[in-house]
């Protein structure tokens, strides 16, 4: 009798333990050498393989949009640095057109704010924008959750990631963050040169020198962004009248200020600028080369660059060393094939 009771107790404890232990595989995000610490607080959203895979499925699933036509990947394609190649402004459901060029998605764990105007304060809540925007996915988070609950696939994936099949807005957003946080690009030729694994060509080396004198004060290494908001001298597009950061802060000084974007993989993230007005890097460099003596410009742009034709070519050659092919073709980030 005594032994039996003991056995039953032991069995009970084992079963409850089995339920209590969530069999997830932890993932770690390594900080590349000489990079700052990530800004994202991983303690509130511990990365797991299961969470990452759930996020990946959600990222590529048009179920997030009202008519199941648009997924995150529609405007954020891996092979172009997770932005919308060839579209100055992206289109959402029913062919509706937005007002800004879609941003790249990489090294987001190091970002303090999101969107061109920095209106979003945390990676987790960024997806609320495309999901609810009437010109993007035109949905509500609540309705997306109820659609996911009705599928066969998602309750299983949520259970794997979170221990039970309950689908909530919080879990959905955290899973998307888990996928996006893994999108780290740190293996470009530039990185390899910095790690002394290879060397720049003479042209690239010269371009790097020019970059450091003319561009690096805003596009800070190693992330190639200062995370700040600046007016880079673009005239306002009167068909859009986008006032930039001022829309968020209501401060006059933020008029026409937009977030300084990263330049990693810039070779493939065209078209450029917040409204995608420049198709090529040459046009971008020419824009900066032609600036000068405008009082609204930040001090970094106060003096014209005055690069020669050869120097402009060298600068572009350097920018192309920021291409990270491993990242652009990493199968872990691609469409999840069953």
């Amino acid at each position: 009798m005594k032994i039996k009771l003991k056995h039953i107790l032991l069995l009970g404890i084992t079963i409850s333990l089995a339920f209590a232990i969530n069999k997830t595989t932890p993932l770690y995000l390594e900080t590349p050498k000489a990079w700052p610490k990530p800004h994202y607080d991983f303690s509130k959203n511990p990365l797991t393989e299961e969470g990452f895979q759930l996020g990946r499925n959600l990222f590529y699933d048009p179920i997030l949009s009202r008519d199941s036509t648009i997924s995150c990947a529609s405007c954020h394609l891996q092979s172009t640095g997770f932005t919308h190649v060839d579209h100055s402004l992206s289109h959402g459901i029913e062919g509706k057109i937005g007002t800004r060029n879609s941003m790249t998605l990489m090294n987001l764990a190091w970002s303090k704010s999101f969107m061109w105007d920095g209106g979003v304060n945390h990676l987790d809540v960024q997806p609320l924008n495309p999901i609810t925007s009437p010109v993007e996915m035109g949905e509500t988070l609540n309705h997306v959750v109820s659609k996911l609950q009705k599928t066969e696939k998602y309750p299983l994936l949520f259970e794997k990631a979170f221990g039970d099949p309950k689908i909530t807005g919080q879990r959905l957003l955290k899973a998307l963050s888990q996928f996006e946080l893994q999108l780290v690009s740190s293996n470009s030729k530039y990185d390899k040169v910095m790690r002394k694994e290879t060397t720049f060509t003479e042209q690239e080396q010269n371009g790097y020198k020019l970059f450091k004198t003319n561009c690096a004060s805003c596009h800070n290494e190693p992330l190639f962004t200062s995370e700040k908001f600046e007016n880079n001298g673009l005239a306002i597009d009167t068909t859009l009248n986008d006032i930039g950061r001022m829309k968020i802060t209501n401060k006059q000084e933020d008029y026409l200020r937009f977030k300084v974007p990263t330049l990693r993989n810039v070779q493939f993230t065209f078209p450029y600028m917040h409204d995608g007005r420049f198709k090529t890097l040459t046009e971008v460099v020419k824009h900066y080369n032609s600036l000068g003596n405008n009082k609204r410009l930040p001090k970094q742009l106060a003096k014209p660059m005055k690069l020669s034709d050869n120097e402009r070519v060298d600068l572009v050659a350097f920018l192309k060393t920021l291409t990270d092919t491993e990242f652009l073709f990493d199968k872990r980030f691609s469409f999840p094939k069953e």
Partner: protein
Amino acid sequence: MNNKTRIVFFLVLFFQVALAQEKMDIVFAHLNLTFRDKPLELNKEYVSENKDTLQLTGFKFYISNLKLEYADKTTYSEPDSYYLIDIENPNSCKIPIKKTTSKTISKVSFSVGIDSLTSVSGALEGDLDPTKGMYWAWQSGYINMKLEGRSSSCKTRKNEFQFHIGGYMKPNYAMRKVVLEPKKSNSTVEINVDVAALFSQLELSKINSVMVPGTKAMQIADYSVTMFKTK
């Protein structure tokens, strides 16, 4: 009594005490949504002090960090507690207070809305889950209070008015603290939320759409404080 019966006896006793404890320990703070002295109803016509004829189509707000102070100066507080009060969900108007006593309450304090730190903490759960429709997309932050309806005074589309009040950054930090001192000696919490008090300070023909943080939101947040009263 042998050992076995003794154990059974104690177990029964233990569960009885535990159950009784449970019953005793949960009381509720009631929020009574009203228009003047009548219970507030959606789509019912009211006339404000400013002679605006109006109907409400929605009313939701957050109560956070509830704190009770008893006559003997002891306190009960719930740090990091957030409740979404929604007229369409009557259960939400009852806030559970754990482990209360029968002592007389001298002061009730809480915040209307969500604090800054919580507003920058990413995706949260329960009443703070963004599925509740109380989180802004294009400019992060919680909507502390949503008050929507119609009034013939509003020369807007379908005569609609919308107040989405929020903002977590200075100088437009729209969370408001409410401190109430019940006149009646009471050990339960009954809070009246009289929407008429807010509308008495507004002229709907002049102000009828506030959906971003800013000075107007700050103004309406100030007005909203006057809705809360105890007996």
